[in-house]
Point group: C2
Chain length 431, copies 2
């Protein structure tokens, strides 16, 4: 079949056949379909969105476009977790050891960060010695032994998605729900998952800016996951304020604080809360708990008993790192204090994310290198009561000039109210 | 301005600024905007059509994207003619000498044929010695002296259109009226025209299949031409049956028969009728006649007096050819006769065009070479009364096998009715 005819089907809003979508995915993966034809199809798909059946077919076709990871030998159910990403989102690093401590086995492929949404790989690489170059066989053996392993995506995992995503990024066609759904789920399926937990974030620091958009995406993910035979649970979580501290090494430090069950600051408590809910949902999804509430209690017990920390210790060691390693620390540490008594009414997640990128702590484009040592420790959250002079943030910067700029951005990102402000739930909805 | 933002403006159906469309045209012309971004914009523009103001801005920006032909020194008004193309459309070759004989000066750039719509250049090149490689200065001198000159487009004429058209052709975005309009008019403006005659054809042998589509295109052309400051007249003409004979050398022969005022067959008379209407409209448009009817009478007189033929003689000679030259003739000539008495109810233009391409008389793709000698002489038209055994067509083919295939196609393309069928007007509407 001529790809131009496939473009015309989409353009005219007719329904694609499964075989048309396989031609698309295979042609995108092999490079046989030129970029300009893929780009035309993508814009047509943006403006004439795929229906649920088409989305499921495209997801499967993209999953089949490269190699599939075979998790045979690992205990079932084969579980994976995905977050749409957000400023300070480090939940994978905390949730995975909790789940392993509760008897699950998780073999996870993670991505790198781009823009204000960080990447788990980048965070783990800030741990001295942490290896992301282990082979699939080694990692499977590790997961079998200690219950978890994390690596980057193999180069040939869902190559159709890789090709289409690169084009979407430069043709204004990223924000299409069916295209987002097939991109997310195809990689999970190709990675071997059968049960997945999806964390869909909404707010200025996440991909979906509005709660409505995030809910639409979550519902579409749930429908397509079901159509593709996945057991899927979803959490809709808040990303209007940063999820705790931001910056690669800083986030590893905060994760370990929570795994040590030493969280105390409002920022840390919010991260902890998010992780316990996600862990509870995960445990319920694989029937290790009768429901989310019970799952959450089991997860909290794993934090309290030190079992989750022990799993993190084993995990870091298995991949060449150590939870006791000294993490990179930026030369300038500057506290940003409240100018008056009051309540935190807002901390704009996007602004915080952008200021960390500006310090070199994130990527503007794919080829940027990251300084893992810089970032912003976020001590408070919306609803925190603060006293004049109390530290809201600690900026970790490469220079005083950099700290000056960041301090200015942070002061603009925060709204302090004279009247009490309610704390906002971090998990908005689970389903 | 980032081109991705320009894509997003189109995608979201917002209005482009003039400067955005200049960025598009200049970036397409220079190659600075990658094809995949142009393709995404084109699909967005197909699905979210440009409004009239945007279309006019794009037209001017594309006209300005390369060199402009300067007709200074030629008498005004600077006139050009454009046809949307059709099977057997040879009107330029007849109308131009008529107009020159009536006192007009026409400097025209023509295109090559692609698909079933032939190109004036290809037709003229079937005349032995006819030169298309003369320089602009020589051609201007020729036009000044004898009133007409025809050449191919200079390589740098509206290069933005060249780049966008090549992409539209392979991304399912050809049939967008604003994109068609800007493509047609930008080349005319860059070619120096101030007054233009547009021949918009409708029917299976033309670009617009339906009369409604052709009318929409004609109206959009008229609006944009006006917005760009062009004096523009339009004819909507029928292309449901071939416009006389088809094939490059055959069409030159038919053109000369009409210029000699020797047309007699129904097919030839239809071509003659079309040319007289177009010439009349042209003469009226430049005020050499008070109205179309009077213009038509002046044109007919130029045919009758031999003045038009004399202009054609001068023209062919000026460009290295001769109206008396022996034209290439295919080795096999086969008459296709009517199987019974009756009236011609249909001759499907597209089928005739496709069968001539199949004989090598047209291009399927841009790089195909053309055999100028093959084609189909069409003796009849819809409404012609025919007797059993009377010749409807003469096939001019390279071989008997080729003639066999063409004969079969032609028999399928013709419907013969037992009841009288009315002749169809060739010019449907002028405005």
């Amino acid at each position: 079949m001529n790809f131009q005819e496939i473009i015309e089907v989409r353009r005219d809003g007719r329904r694609h056949s499964e075989s048309e979508l396989r031609v698309l995915a295979d042609g995108a993966a092999s490079g046989e379909i030129p970029d300009y034809q893929l780009a035309a199809w993508l814009m047509a798909a943006y403006l004439r969105p795929l229906d649920d059946q088409e989305t499921a077919w495209l997801t499967q076709a993209m999953a089949d476009s490269g190699e599939r990871v075979d998790l045979t030998g690992l205990p079932k159910p084969w579980f994976d977790k995905h977050s749409t990403g957000g400023v300070g989102d480090k939940t994978t690093i905390i949730v995975l050891p909790i789940l392993a401590a509760c008897g699950m086995t998780v073999f996870k492929m993670s991505g790198r960060g781009l823009g204000t949404t960080g990447g788990t790989l980048d965070k783990l690489e800030s741990v001295p010695g942490f290896r992301m170059d282990l082979g699939i066989a080694e990692l499977k053996a590790q997961a079998k032994q200690i219950g978890l392993a994390v690596t980057g995506q193999t180069p040939n995992l869902a190559p159709a998605d890789k090709a289409l995503y690169a084009l979407r990024d430069v043709t204004g066609t990223v924000e299409s729900i069916p295209l987002l759904v097939s991109s997310i789920l195809s990689k999970k399926i190709a990675g071997g998952a059968e049960t997945i937990l999806l964390d869909v974030k909404s707010g200025s620091g996440g991909f979906m800016r509005t709660a409505e958009g995030a809910l639409d995406l979550a519902r579409a993910l749930a429908r397509t996951a079901k159509a593709c035979g996945l057991n899927c649970r979803l959490a809709l979580t808040d990303m209007s304020q940063p999820l705790g501290s931001v910056g690669n090494a800083i986030e590893i430090g905060e994760s370990l604080t929570i795994l040590r069950n030493e969280a105390s600051l409002d920022g840390e408590m919010r991260v902890r809360e998010s992780c316990l809910e996600l862990a509870g949902l995960s445990l319920a999804s694989v029937k290790l708990a009768p429901g989310v509430r019970e799952g959450r209690e089991i997860a909290e017990a794993a934090l309290g008993s030190g079992k989750a920390l022990a799993k993190a210790r084993d995990w870091f060691a298995a991949q060449g790192g150590s939870i006791d390693a000294e993490l990179p620390m930026a030369p300038v540490q500057r506290s940003v204090a409240a100018g008056k008594d009051g309540w935190i009414a807002e901390i704009d997640a996007e602004s915080v994310g952008v200021s960390v990128i500006a310090m070199g702590g994130g990527r503007k484009t794919k080829n940027d290198t990251i300084d893992p040592s810089v970032g912003v420790r976020v001590h408070v959250a919306v609803g925190s009561a603060v006293r004049q002079g109390e530290s809201l943030f600690t900026i970790c910067a490469g220079s005083d000039a950099m700290a000056d700029r960041t301090e200015k951005s942070l002061r603009d990102a925060v709204v302090l109210s004279d009247l009490p402000v309610e704390k906002r739930p971090v998990v908005l909805q689970v389903f």
